[in-house]
Every structure is written in structure tokens, then in C-alpha cells.
Amino acid sequence: MAFLHGATKSKSGGGSAVKKRSLTPYLLLAPGLIWLITFFVIPIFSLASTSTMVRPQGSQIGTYVQELRFANYVDAFLANQEQYVRSFLYAGIATILALAISYPLAYMIAFKAGKYRNILLVLVVAPFFTSFLLRTVAWSQILGDEGPVVTTLKLLPFFDDSIRLTATPFAVVSGLTYNFLPFMTLPLYASLERIDPRTLEASGDLYASGFTTFRKVTVPLSMPGVVAGTLLTFIPAAGDYVNAALLGNPSTKMIGNVIESRFFAVVDYPTAAALSFTLMATILILVTLYIRKSGTDELV
């Protein structure tokens, strides 16, 4: 009987194992899913509904009722066109600058650094050990009137003594570039490091000079890194408001600053929500076009 008992037991055990296995993916997904539903999906619906609300005549500040007024979007956009354009312009310039700085850096770490490779990678990530805000505030010190950059520039003949860097577009773009640089460098490094050096040798063997090899083999093979890096830099930079707030002036306001002040200073929730949605949609469209254009799906 003991034998029979054991046999049935193992059989049923096997059955439940199959059942468990089919449940496992969902169990593993659950924490993330619950998190996203609570803190992303529900808020986004609430934000969407806020964006078409209207403040009834004579009511208290912060009271809104749903009237499905889609014209909110048009009003919000028309009132803040300038900041929109500026956001994408600054984010675009910062992305290009970050790419120009990161590519040689990542290339050097991937191909030439030898035993220093790991140390250099740690240095790339090192700024993350201090707070984002602190680092941005530090930039206003660095670029300040008595700071090292301005004093050095004043020594040069082509700048007159009235030169200022704080509260300028230059400072905002510099801050953006600096803050998102690691997000550019790391994916670039990852894709460059994956290139088989023998394909580069093969290119040289097939009559391509060093520069042609770079153009025809290295760059195309690093495209997944370029795309990932530019997205990781451009998207947060376009929505950023810290750099413009700390390093800029009223005429360098980005759309992030407008949304922030609409929400917290003016308490104009519908306009802020509509602006947020417009920003999100614009970024989504740009990103889709960009990925289509660069054709990276074929590369990976």
C-alpha cells in the first residue's frame, strides 16, 4: 500500500508542478504590474480627465468640474508655443553635444583603455553618487561671475569684461548636457564594446583606411547605442525643468517649468495636464519617427 500511496502522491505532485509553472510568469509580473497600475495607469487616466475640466465661474481656486473641454489643449498650446519650441531646441542641442562628447569617450573606453576600462566606467557613473540638484546648483557656481570659467574667459582678448554665463541659454544647455551625459555614454560604450575587432581588421584588409573603417563599419555597428543614448538623453531633457530653473532666466523657460508653475503656483490643473499630454504625445511621435528612420530594428 505504501508503494501505491507514494505513486499517487508523485503523480499529483507532478500535476501541480505543471500548474505552478504556468502561473509563475504572472506571479513574477505581479509586483511590477500592480505598481504600474497604481502609480502610472490610474494617474494617467486621472490626468487625462483633468485636462478637459473647467473652473466654474466664481468658484474657489483649485475647484474644477468635468466639461470635456478639448479646447483646453489648443489654449494651452497657443499660450506656450515659445516654451515648447525652446524645450525641443535645448533638448536637441544638449543631445547632440552629449553625443559629440560621449562618442570619443565611449570609443576610447571600449577600444583603447585596456586595464583602465573598469575604472573609467566607474568614473562615468560616479556623478550619480551625489544628488542631481546639488550637481546642478554646483554648475551655477562654476559658471558664476567670480567662477573659474568666466574669470578665464575674461583673460582672453575676444571677450569683454561684461561677459556673464549664469542665467543664459548657454548655462541651461550646458546643465542639460552635463546631467544626461552618462545616459549617452553607457549605451554607446555597450554597443561599441560588442563590436568584434576582427571586423575592423577585415575592413582594413579590404582597402578601407582608418577613417573609412570608422565611417563604414564602426559607426553603423554602434547605431543601436547611438539610438538608445540619444533617446535616453533627449526624452528626459525635453521634459526637464530643474536646469532651466536653476541655471536659466525667465526667457529660457522650458515647457517643464510652465507645467511645474501651472500645477504648483497658479493651481491651473487643466492647463498643466493638457500641456503634459501634448508634451508626451510630441515626444512619442518624434521617437517613433526617429526609430523608423534609423532602422535599428534590423540591427539588433
Partner: protein, 375 residues
């Protein structure tokens, strides 16, 4: 396919006393070599013998520490790799993963400013019989197909010399055999000098007209496969190409075209022309398939014992111990003369004088043995 034949008479490839040092380590040691135009040449040796370094110096991927390399009249020693009319088939093919097969093959042509590449590329593709794959990406091809594309990508440029770096190393045995025949066919068709680097002696013997056996940065011996196999000049070559029995012997007399030698009371005969040393201590070499399990001939050893036996289809391989405890390998052809001996059986060995060779006795008997199956 006669059209693809290029007989530009580019001249021989000459390596003149080249050396390559990495710090204190000497990879290639004062090596001189002339490779005739249009030949299929193999550099054969165990890993670390300097053969790949030699190849990379010819390709221009490494610069020799000393010495010169020239093709015909042109000295190419310091020429950049992209300026040399030499192309390489890399060990793991190194195809460009982002380009189609067509563009991979067209790469070299385009770099040299040739606009109309279609004909040339298609010709190269049909040479390797893969014309239907031109739109695919390398990752969509099997190992054997990638290998052939790598050959096509190099050959389409009609180089003066084509270098093949262990080109078949990543393929399985059956495919490797097939590709050996294929590469030989392509070489005959295009008539370009092929220099093939390998650690696989069978591969070298199947394909190359001339083989140079390399060991520790030097060439041990150079010749045709038959020459190297039948009349090796060093213990390393004897052991590295196939299996070999080497017996330590003393010279008794040299006269009448014969060298009489003895070992532990047995006397043997070696034709004088097959003795490569004037030393009194020699190594008598005889290949396992040349040994017979008989006791009739001039050269025989009685009172031996079978210590191991393995049946491998075409032959039975015996390990036979001589009275002085030396183990010899004997291959017996699997035909009507088969003795079918068991372990422990008493047996005699004999062989013909013309199948033996005499090497300098100062060498290590085991040099080059058990080296060919690494990697």
C-alpha cells in the same frame, strides 16, 4: 569559369629574415621563405608556433621587428594593410553583420572606387555557389556558407596573395572535408597564391602543393605532403604529420649506400640517402602502416608482445612492446592478411629498409607528438 582566371604574373612572395618580438617573447625567429606565384602554400604547426603571426605580417596587421616582405619587386614591409593587394579570410570570417552578403562582397571593390560592382560580385558569388543568398545578412547563413562568403569577399578583389587563417577551424568534420575540396577547386580556378595557416596536418596535406612545418617561430621543414610524410628531416615533423615510430639506434657502418645501425642487439638497415645526419646516434623512423607482423625481412624484431588493440574500420591498430620495453604502433590493413591478434599474444615485427629514415639522435623522441589536437 576560365574568365575568372587572373594570371597577372605578380611575382613570388618573399619573406626575408623576418622576426617578430612581443617584448622578450620571440613569436617568429629569423624566418625566410619564398612562396611561388600561384601556389597553394600551407603553414602548418601547433598553436603558438608563430604561423598566425607570420600571416598577419603578410597581411599588414602586424609589423615585423626585423626583416622584409616583398611581392615580386615591391617591398611591402611597412605598407599599411589597406594599401596591400593582399586579402585575408579570417578565422571566424569577420563578415560585416550590418551589411547584406552582396554588400559584404562589394566592400573591397567599393573602397577602391569601383562603381559598377554587380558583375564582379555575382561572379564571386557563383564561384562559391551561393548566388541565391546575396540579399541575406551574415547572421542568416550557416557556418559553411559564411565561410564561403568570406572567401568570395576576399577573392573578388583579385589579390596577389590570399591569406587563409585557420579557415575551416569552426566547421564540423564533414563540412571541413567538403570545404577542403572546394577551396582547392577555387584556387585552381582563380590561380591566385593561397597561403593557408592551419594546425590540422590532414587539412594541409589535402590542399597544399607545398607545406612549411613551423615550430617555435622557425620552419622545421618545407616540401610536398609526400616528402614531409615519407622523408621527414626532424623528429618534430615525423611526429606532427601522422604517427611515427622512432627507435634510438647506433651506427655500425656506412658503406655501399647503406647505413647499418643497431639497437639492443638487433641490427637494421637504412638507405644512406634517407639518413639526414652524420651523427653516430640516430633515430630510426618508420611509419605504423609500414610495419608488418612477420619475421622474414632484414629488419625485424622478434619476441614482441601485443599490449593494446583497437579496431578502426579500415585497419586494426596495435600497440606492440619490444623486448627492451619500447612501444611501437602498428597499423594492419583490414583485408585477408589480417592476423587478428589479442592483447598478450607474442609477435614479430619487420619492415622494408626503403620505408625507414634516419634522424639526428640528439632530438627528443616525442617532439611534436600529441600537439595537433589542441584548440
Amino acid at each position: 569559369m576560365a574568365k575568372t582566371k587572373v594570371s597577372q604574373d605578380t611575382g613570388d612572395l618573399v619573406l626575408n629574415r623576418i622576426s617578430k618580438y612581443y617584448g622578450d617573447f620571440c613569436a617568429v625567429d629569423d624566418l625566410s621563405l619564398t612562396i611561388p606565384d600561384g601556389s597553394f602554400f600551407a603553414l602548418l604547426g601547433p598553436s603558438g608556433c608563430g604561423k598566425t603571426t607570420t600571416l598577419r605580417m603578410i597581411a599588414g596587421l602586424e609589423e615585423p621587428t626585423a626583416g622584409t616582405i616583398s611581392i615580386g619587386e615591391t617591398d611591402i614591409t611597412t605598407q599599411k594593410s589597406y594599401r596591400r593587394n593582399v586579402n585575408t579570410v579570417f578565422q571566424n570570417y569577420a563578415l560585416f553583420p550590418h551589411l547584406s552578403i552582396f554588400e559584404n562582397i562589394a566592400f573591397g571593390l567599393r573602397r577602391r572606387g569601383i562603381k559598377d560592382v554587380k558583375d564582379e560580385v555575382e561572379k564571386a558569388l557563383s564561384l562559391v555557389e551561393l548566388g541565391h543568398l546575396s540579399e541575406r545578412k551574415p547572421a542568416q547563413l550557416s557556418g559553411g556558407q559564411q565561410q564561403r562568403i568570406a572567401v568570395a569577399r576576399a577573392i573578388v578583389n583579385r589579390p596577389e596573395v590570399l591569406l587563409l587563417d585557420e579557415p575551416l577551424g569552426a566547421l564540423d568534420l564533414k563540412l571541413r572535408r567538403q570545404m577542403q575540396i572546394e577551396l582547392k577547386r577555387i584556387q585552381l580556378e582563380v590561380g591566385i597564391t593561397f597561403i593557408h595557416v592551419t594546425h590540422d596536418q590532414e587539412e594541409a596535406m589535402t590542399m597544399a602543393d607545398t607545406i612549411a612545418v613551423m615550430n617555435q617561430g622557425k620552419i622545421e621543414q618545407m616540401g610536398s605532403a609526400t616528402e614531409l610524410y615519407e622523408a621527414p628531416k626532424t623528429a618534430f615533423v615525423a611526429n606532427f604529420l601522422g604517427q611515427c615510430n622512432l627507435i634510438k639506434v647506433k651506427v655500425q657502418s656506412r658503406s655501399g649506400g647503406k647505413v647499418i645501425v643497431s639497437a639492443k642487439g638487433h641490427t637494421f638497415e637504412i638507405p644512406e640517402s634517407r639518413v639526414s645526419s652524420s651523427n653516430d646516434a640516430l633515430l630510426l623512423g618508420v611509419r605504423p602502416e609500414k610495419l608488418r607482423l612477420d619475421d622474414k625481412g632484414v629488419n625485424s624484431i622478434q619476441e614482441c608482445v601485443v599490449t593494446d588493440r583497437s579496431f578502426v574500420g579500415t585497419s586494426t591498430q596495435y600497440l606492440v612492446r619490444t623486448p627492451w620495453d619500447l612501444e611501437l604502433v602498428v597499423f594492419e590493413q583490414n583485408d585477408e592478411g589480417l592476423h587478428d591478434l589479442r592483447v598478450g599474444d607474442k609477435v614479430s615485427l619487420e619492415w622494408d629498409s626503403e620505408h625507414t629514415f634516419g634522424l639526428d639522435g640528439a632530438q627528443d623522441v616525442n617532439a611534436g607528438a600529441d600537439l595537433d589536437d589542441d584548440e
